[in-house]
């Protein structure tokens, strides 16, 4: 079992939920991303999602779009990100998921990517624009390297699709709680509860909920019905607002602590 599966098992034994934090790699710099990953680990975050910036992020709202643009201006590439993760792995065992779009991976080369990602210590990959109909060309290689293929389920997925997606997913299911892009709408808790019930009947994989969860209170509320909660845009906004300040890493640490504390309830 990989780091992701093991983390969910440990949490389950303790009756806890996973806190998953998203960061756009290279925003404000790769050095800061490195420091922030380690600080998230210290803050008790369970999984980090490292956003691979892309020029045309069609599933992202304005906050993550802007972060991607900043990271790309700084010259951040997939190769740099994999090298960064290799450095993180020397000092941390926090499960790491790469989150992004297909083209940068495709251009890097699917097979080469999977090998390098495994060597670097990547545990899972979530490619927003690779639905199950198109994912074989990449997952043939990531499966061979033991990298989890995290898959999205959305409010528009019917039972048939939930089954099709979860049969082929590994690691965990990422449930997109709103019909929309990242960081724009707030999920309706009643809908999340209903949809989680539906998904849980079909799959035994852990299910994490993300898109639009920005406060500790919301995270805590959603966590009641899920195995994990993803917070992305709210952290990215905090990073943007404090990117030039000396206490950036401390601010991210405190916000993660605050989220994690709510989570335990």
């Amino acid at each position: 079992m990989g780091r992701i599966g093991k983390r969910f098992d440990d949490l389950k034994k303790r009756g806890e939920k996973a806190l998953i934090i998203y960061l756009t790699a290279g925003d404000p710099s790769l050095e800061k991303t490195y420091e922030m990953i380690l600080c998230l680990d210290r803050a008790g975050v369970d999984i980090v999602e490292i956003g691979v910036p892309f020029s045309d992020p069609t599933a992202d709202g304005p906050i993550i779009q802007a972060a991607s643009q900043r990271a790309l201006k700084g010259g951040t590439s997939l190769l740099d990100i994999l090298n960064l993760i290799e450095e993180v792995r020397k000092v941390s065992e926090i499960p790491i998921v790469l989150f992004g779009y297909y083209n940068p991976v495709f251009i890097y080369g699917n097979e080469k990517f999977a090998k390098r990602a495994r060597e670097a210590g990547v545990d899972g990959i979530l490619v927003v624009d690779l639905p199950p109909e198109e994912s074989d060309e990449l997952r043939r290689h990531t499966d061979a390297e033991g990298i989890d293929f995290i898959s999205l389920i959305t409010p528009t997925s019917d039972d048939g699709r939930i089954k099709k997606i979860s049969e082929r997913a590994s690691g965990f299911i990422y449930y997109v709680s709103v019909t929309g892009v990242t960081g724009t709408k707030k999920p309706e808790i009643a809908d999340v509860r209903k949809d989680m019930g539906k998904i849980k009947k079909i799959t035994s994989l852990p299910v994490s909920v993300g898109f639009g969860i920005s406060t500790p209170e919301q995270a805590g509320e959603v966590a009641q019905y899920a195995d994990g909660v993803v917070v992305g845009s709210a952290i990215v906004r905090l990073i943007e607002e404090n990117s030039k300040k000396n206490n950036l890493v401390e601010k991210v640490f405190s916000f993660a602590r605050e989220l994690k504390n709510f989570h335990f309830k």
């Binding site: 892309f54 997939l78 083209n103 959305t154 409010p155 528009t156 019917d158 997109v176 019909t179």
Partner: protein, 398 residues
């Protein structure tokens, strides 16, 4: 005869597909099913044909450009006059089809992206015609460059949404349109304007544009008693060219040439020639040739013709290129402007800047061919919208 493409997952060989986020997949499947039903439904076909005929003014002439041919001194050149359609370009063939499909699916809101504004105007037009709510996503930079089209869309009742992300051009408008569609997917029909996007769009847009090639085939048989030797059309996303080419794809004697925009010159990097100078990647829901850097970030396209200013190309064109069924060449801004002026002087027809790329290539090719050869050029749109750009280039102030 080859097997009909795309396959059931929307692939044209290694190209095409449905590289979209899960939120959209169920909507794309619904759309595909609705379209597959509609296309065999006589009532739907009759309705579309009624509007193409009575509203858009089809069929469009296949005009023998006698003086243009004589000036060039080679092959006979026919112009397929898509510029004579209502709204001034071929775009309406597709927006009528998609709007009727939207209505059939019970969707009362339609939305679209637009670059120069031609597809936006064609979409806003059918929205007005069918009394539908309409939103058009357009890059901020394009809004500035194409204020007249923006105004046309507004008086047609559309809500023009400025897109400020990225460089504020067509690519960004398409990104924003996809984001918006994700949020309103249950009640909104997304009218894509080119043979691009995720399956079933490249297939559906092609089918709606095939009326161009079907008419051409019939018309040339009437006029010449034989098929043409060469078809020439400009390629941005590729809808007018695919509409002309596709009905001839199984006629091996008919050569097809797609003309991309070389902008300021391929070597300058400021162009929109995805097939001629790009490589394979995944953008806006399909795998195709795109303009990108070494690490897979999509580059901005550049062309004097806003309608060709897109860093990708329809996946079926990539397939035609890969299999050698069509040839793709590139014409730069200057050649296209000269062609616009030359055709205007010879024939009294002002082509759109986009179509002028196809005219420019015909001007290169025709003199190299014998006088009994036949070329058909798709005159996809009229040039009125480009008078600002042309006058500026010629030193006139309007």
């Amino acid at each position: 005869m080859q097997q009909a493409l795309p396959d059931k997952n929307g692939h044209f060989g290694i190209f095409g597909g449905r590289y979209a986020s899960e939120t959209l997949i169920p909507a794309l499947i619904d759309l595909e099913n609705a379209y597959n039903e509609a296309k065999y439904d006589q009532a739907f076909k009759d309705e579309l044909s009624f509007y193409l005929h009575e509203y858009s003014g089809r069929e469009t002439p296949l005009y023998f450009a006698k003086r243009f041919t004589e000036e060039l001194g080679g092959a006979k050149i026919y112009l397929k006059r898509e510029d004579l359609n209502h709204t001034g370009a071929h775009k309406i063939n597709n927006t009528l089809g998609q709007a009727l499909l939207a209505r059939r699916m019970g969707k009362e809101r339609i939305m679209a992206e637009t670059g120069a504004g031609q597809h936006g105007v064609a979409t806003a037009t059918v929205a007005a015609l069918f009394g539908m709510e309409c939103q058009i996503f357009m890059g901020e930079e394009d809004i500035r460059r194409q204020s007249q089209n923006v105004f046309r869309m507004k008086i047609l009742g559309a809500d023009v949404v400025p897109v400020i992300s990225g460089t504020g051009t067509l690519k960004d408008a398409m990104n924003e349109a996809m984001r918006y569609w994700v949020s309103r997917v249950r009640d909104t029909f997304y009218v894509i304007g080119s043979t691009a996007g995720p399956h079933p769009y490249p297939m559906m847009v092609r089918d709606f544009q095939c009326v161009i090639g079907e008419e051409t085939k019939r018309q040339i048989m009437e006029k010449e008693g034989r098929l043409p030797d060469v078809l020439i059309a400009c390629v941005g996303g590729g809808s007018n060219s695919m509409g002309l080419f596709y009905p001839f794809k199984d006629d091996p004697g008919v050569e097809m040439i797609g003309v991309e925009a070389a902008g300021k010159g391929i070597e300058t990097g400021m162009h929109a020639a995805s097939i001629s100078a790009g490589n394979i990647g995944v953008l806006h829901g399909n795998k195709t040739y795109i303009l990108q850097d070494a690490v897979g970030q999509v580059k901005d396209a550049f062309s004097i013709a806003a309608g060709l200013d897109y860093p990708g190309v329809g996946p079926e064109h990539s397939h035609f290129h890969e299999t050698g069924r069509a040839e793709y060449v590139a014409i730069d801004d200057e050649e296209a402007v000269n062609a616009l002026i030359f055709l205007t002087e010879c024939e009294g027809i002002i082509p759109a800047m986009e179509s002028a790329h196809a005219i420019a290539y015909a001007m290169k090719l025709a003199p190299t061919l014998a006088r009994d050869k036949i070329i058909v050029v798709n005159l996809s749109g009229r040039g009125d919208k480009d008078m600002g750009i042309i006058s500026e280039r010629m030193g006139f102030s309007l």
